[in-house]
Symmetry: C2
Subunit: 457 residues, 2 copies
């Protein structure tokens, strides 16, 4: 879920962001008129920021509003190759002017793309199923897992987000109480060495910490087995966005996968956020020395074009095909396939993963220097270009600095930098820029963050 406001603050923000309230803060009456029209005609209309950003143009790492104010984009992961990349525009233009049709006729684009995509995966993951959104990919992955395992239940993280279909919104434990949790969903505490159950004992090795958190899954498996659902799947991001940009200890996934598979379940890696280089490797799971049974993909896959999918094994795909039937009108059409293929080529040819890995080390160092300077920064963590900066009012009690996080986001917008706020407690600054983010961009981010932190200190 892309959000600048955490789920815990969702309701009050939804209220404060309703059209009439914008009237109190907005200086720009043209924007106010547009906001009112929007609230009148569009459902699910929450906007970021007290005074919404009226973005009209993007180029590379930059976004521009309707007053030509320039913003450094430190938030948007979808345009990971940079906004309006000319090769993406060219692919979209050329193919949509030639043919845009579904996959029931033969066309080379979808075949070229699936082969290209599979070349980036371990060889046992050798089949692609195309969808249009990450929600559809996670929904389909769960359908596969249920059919193949014969079980019904799912183990997910606390405060997870996996999408908006009926099924995956039930698996999204960060969503409000309006989404009835079914008893086939069991949620487990995510590993959190800063604030989690096992934080106190600093003597734990990475392997021991992994084991302690992995062992929490035992109880959830037991619950699902006792209530008759059994375990169809463990569905988990490989970097924990809605939990505040947490990173699992090195051996965590290996140990959890072992338990899930012993219970007859499949391991689904949700790489809708982490995939396509975000973490400094092509796939997030590569950091953890595991091979999932199903990997789901989305967001940056088409640089904004609605294309998504999943990768799985031949055995799982065949088992599903024996018992059911899958077709998606727009999924894998010749335009979507060419755009996705182009994005993947750009990531490879412009060496964005290597770049992301390098710049992220530089940025992390700079952030640690800021942490030395400002007691408000309790923790800096992340993988690659997915960084969480947890703000606390007291480094001993870890009192969450939720309002400060929101204020920082607003001040940064004023300064021309877009970033987000996330986490169960709403006190984690989320830095998740396009992968083309440079050292110079990192310097600008740090300078302005320094300024904002000084202002609220």
């Amino acid at each position: 879920m892309t959000k600048i406001y955490s789920s815990s603050t969702k309701k009050s923000l939804a209220a404060s962001l309703a059209g009439q309230n914008h009237a109190d803060t907005l200086h720009n009456s043209d924007d106010l008129a547009l906001i009112k029209r929007r609230h009148a005609s569009l459902g699910g209309s929450i906007l970021f920021y007290k005074e919404p950003a009226h973005i009209v143009r993007g180029k590379g790492i930059w976004l521009f509003d309707n007053k030509e104010k320039r913003y450094l984009d430190c938030y948007n992961n979808v345009a990971s190759v940079g906004h309006c990349h000319p090769r993406v525009v060219e692919a979209l233009t050329q193919q949509s002017a030639t043919l845009n049709i579904h996959t029931r006729y033969l066309h080379e684009n979808v075949v070229n793309y699936t082969e290209h995509l599979l070349s980036t995966f371990p060889e046992e993951l050798n089949v692609v199923m195309m969808t249009c959104t990450g929600s559809e990919a996670n929904d389909l992955a769960m359908q596969l897992a249920r059919m193949v395992s014969g079980n019904n239940g799912a183990v997910v993280m606390e405060n997870s987000y996996h999408g908006n279909t009926c099924l995956v919104s039930q698996l999204s434990t960060c969503l409000g109480s309006g989404n009835k949790q079914s008893d086939y969903v069991a949620s487990v505490e995510p590993p959190n060495s800063y604030r989690g159950s096992f934080r106190a004992d600093q003597r734990l090795s990475d392997r021991q910490l992994s084991q302690k958190y992995a062992n929490l899954v035992d109880k959830e498996i037991q619950t699902l087995e006792n209530n008759g659902h059994g375990v169809a799947a463990f569905l988990c991001d490989t970097i924990f966005d809605t939990q505040g940009g947490l990173v699992a200890p090195k051996h965590y996934f290996k140990q959890v996968y072992k338990k899930i598979r012993a219970a007859g379940g499949l391991c689904i890696a949700d790489e809708v956020q982490a995939g396509f280089g975000r973490t400094g490797k092509m796939w997030g799971f590569e950091h953890f020395d595991v091979v999932p049974d199903i990997v789901t993909l989305g967001k940056p896959m088409g640089a904004g074009h609605p294309v998504a999918g999943l990768v799985t094994t031949r055995a799982i795909a065949d088992e599903f095909a024996k018992r059911s039937f899958y077709f998606n009108t727009f999924g894998g059409n010749c335009v979507s396939a060419l755009v996705a293929d182009t994005v993947l080529s750009i990531i490879e040819q412009e060496k964005l993963i290597e770049k992301c890995a390098q710049v992220s080390v530089y940025l992390r160092e700079k952030l640690l220097l800021l942490q030395d300077k400002y007691p408000l920064i309790g923790n800096v963590r992340g993988l690659g270009m997915f960084i969480g900066i947890e703000l606390v009012r007291d480094r001993k009690t870890l009192e969450p600095a939720q309002e400060e996080a929101l204020t920082i986001a607003e001040l940064m917008k004023r300064e021309g930098v877009l970033l987000g706020v996330t986490g169960r407690l709403g006190n984690v600054i989320k830095v998740r820029p396009p992968l083309i983010f440079s050292k110079e961009n990192a310097d600008e981010l740090i300078d302005k963050l320094d300024l904002a932190l000084r202002e609220i200190a």
Copy 2:
């Protein structure tokens, strides 16, 4: 579901269409190599036709294969404004070169589109929620209906298709036994004056026939109330595709809606197929003098670009927003919104609905003349540019001519015409061309259909 093969023949066809079998029929070894690569890397890979159509280019009503063979497109409803319409390509190019971003920043495109779209609806339907696919739209509609009604069950048609998410695939009764039907789904016989339960009594007025079929819903409502699910929704196409292009009698929906609403349920019109002018009116429900509570949209909405959504009332949207939260990363982004807006403008400015209504009358007359000539044609029916031609071996016993329907589809492909086969019995030729279909195109279709019918007579 776009398909040339009916659901009843799905499994055998899936088998016969596997890569190795194509080897027996294929003359083109390049295509065979591509098909093999496709089956190896793509899940859900079923292709139309014994010898798949390798389409590489489209323009207006025409599709062209890799040998430059030209096909008259009588099948594809997605490109309803014609393949590769220059205004659609221009919108896609211009906006994707300028900005492609989600709806959490303010942008005029999504507001302009939602207002434009709502101008085509009755005034009580005044809120749009944007998705990327018809599946997502139907899934979200059911979530709304459940939340607002407080009930869980759904009444759908027998042999229905509403999409591929976990929830809507359970509501798609045409899918195989692999999709476990849950007891919250109750399916009812669709009105069918040619072959249905009440066909015998020709003295029935339209109102009486409507009532007889509508009364079948009583039992399903009762079942859902008895098993504790209650009725959340009646989810129904306004033209029955997978049931063989059936058209409900004039008063059917009015009478069913009354029963559903009395049971506390919402009425969802699935206009993913019927909407945007297909039936000769903008919305299929306009033929039946009803106003649904939710209308779902998809396929032709973006002429192939993955954009879809639903339209509902302010009260329903607000009730949902109180209890849950909806965001869709790509839904309503500034590219999708502009493309959809352009498609709607083309439909209006090129008067495609009026054209479709006129040409469909002409085409229907010609088809009735063919029916006089060939006993195989048992029934011609439909609304606007959605026409079903039911083939029977005997006009008295109505023995379905399933193989003949498949043969006709293959012969028509040979003759350069693409059309489909549908219906529970797989014996209905489906004619569903782009809305730009002209009288000249109709003449060509009729001439070639005449030829194919003569060949198998």
